[in-house]
């Protein structure tokens, strides 16, 4: 059983490393293969983000309803826009979420890479459709408070999932806005697993 668990951990680790390599394998990897592919036209290089100023990054302070045991979760996220490549704008987001119900409390550290179709919005719009998708890595830590024993048990688990978000973001001012969005995840027993409203601070 221990051997099985360590094998599972090892495969998870390898999968994560592979995923990381895929995600990190941007322009550097493509540049490295250009010399050997003389017949194919050179790929379009990644352009630095067309976003500037307060469009470059933002904080998101949110509250969400989740499918599953817990009802409501709070979230704090930092998102940074990376670049535009082809029809997509790429951004990275780190998110902390926390929730509690009966004997259980849960904290999640999540890392996402999002692809957002450039054609779905304009920076000049104050109300923008929010359509994006990408992989997410979640480290979940749960604490069970053992009633009557003044003791806690801890458990941690790592998840990798693909997510798709759809919603709207509304910019009230240049620096402040809010968003509402729903999330679909795969694989999942509850594909529509998350609905969130958040304040944007840019």
């Amino acid at each position: 059983m221990i051997a099985g668990r360590s094998a599972a951990l090892r495969s998870w680790f390898l999968a994560l490393v592979f995923l990381e390599m895929l995600l990190a394998c941007g322009s550097a990897c493509r540049a490295g293969t250009q010399d050997s592919t003389a017949t194919t036209p050179p790929p379009r290089p990644a352009t630095p983000s067309a976003r500037s100023g307060e469009e470059q990054d933002r904080f998101e302070l949110g509250i969400g309803a989740v499918q599953g045991f817990f009802d409501v979760t709070g979230s704090f996220a930092y998102r940074r826009f990376l670049n535009e490549r082809g029809p997509f704008e790429r951004s990275a987001m780190g998110e902390l979420t926390g929730t509690t119900k009966s004997q259980l409390s849960e904290g999640i550290v999540s890392l996402y890479v999002f692809f957002r179709p450039i054609a779905t919005y304009r920076q000049s719009w104050r109300i923008r459709p929010l359509i994006e998708f990408g992989p997410g890595v979640h480290t979940v830590v749960q604490v069970a408070s053992l009633e009557g024993f003044n003791r806690s048990s801890y458990k941690a688990k790592l998840y990798v999932k693909s997510h798709a978000y759809a919603g709207f973001e509304v910019l009230a001012t240049k620096r402040l806005g809010f968003l509402v969005r729903g999330r679909m995840s795969a694989p999942s027993h509850h594909p529509f697993d998350y609905a969130q409203a958040a304040i944007l601070l840019r």
Binding site: S102, G148, S162, D193
Partner: protein
């Protein structure tokens, strides 16, 4: 869709874990540090420290466990709390909660019996459970129980 977009999505989907969900209770027991109490037959109570022993009780003539028998040795009168928790750390049933006199003999008789029911008297589903015992302010111990 470009491969560099599709590949991580597919990889995350294939490798992702669907058996359990984010935002669902994780299984705590038996955890990475499973615990168990000694069988009472081999129990050598003595000295001035608390000891706990337990064993599964099978239905007559079968190998199917129908209850969990727990006993202990107390060197002096102490408040004892004994309870069963499910795999998610939720309280299933309080088996004992009160003052217990110093034990006379090897261990407490009669033992405390958990008949695999919850606080409403309904039999718990099969699975992993953990019993905790606290005696006085300092002693806490636990034992995993696989309910068939």
């Amino acid at each position: 869709m470009p491969l560099r977009v599709l590949a991580p999505l597919l990889l995350a989907t294939v490798l992702g874990c669907s058996a359990q969900e984010v935002n669902s209770p994780l299984d705590f027991f038996p955890g990475s540090q499973p615990t168990s109490w000694a069988v009472c037959d081999k129990f050598g109570a003595a000295g001035d420290h608390v000891q706990v022993c337990a064993s599964l009780v099978n239905a007559p003539g079968t190998q199917t466990a129908i209850s969990y028998s727990i006993s202990f040795f107390l060197p002096r009168t102490l408040h004892v709390r004994l309870a069963a928790f499910d795999a998610h750390g939720a309280l299933v049933k309080v088996l004992l909660d009160g003052e217990e006199s110093a034990t006379i003999g090897q261990y407490r008789t009669p033992p405390i019996i958990w008949d695999f029911t919850d606080s409403r008297g309904v039999r718990v589903p099969r699975g992993n459970y953990r019993c905790y015992i606290a005696a006085g302010p300092d002693f806490v111990s636990s034992s995993d129980v696989a309910v068939p």
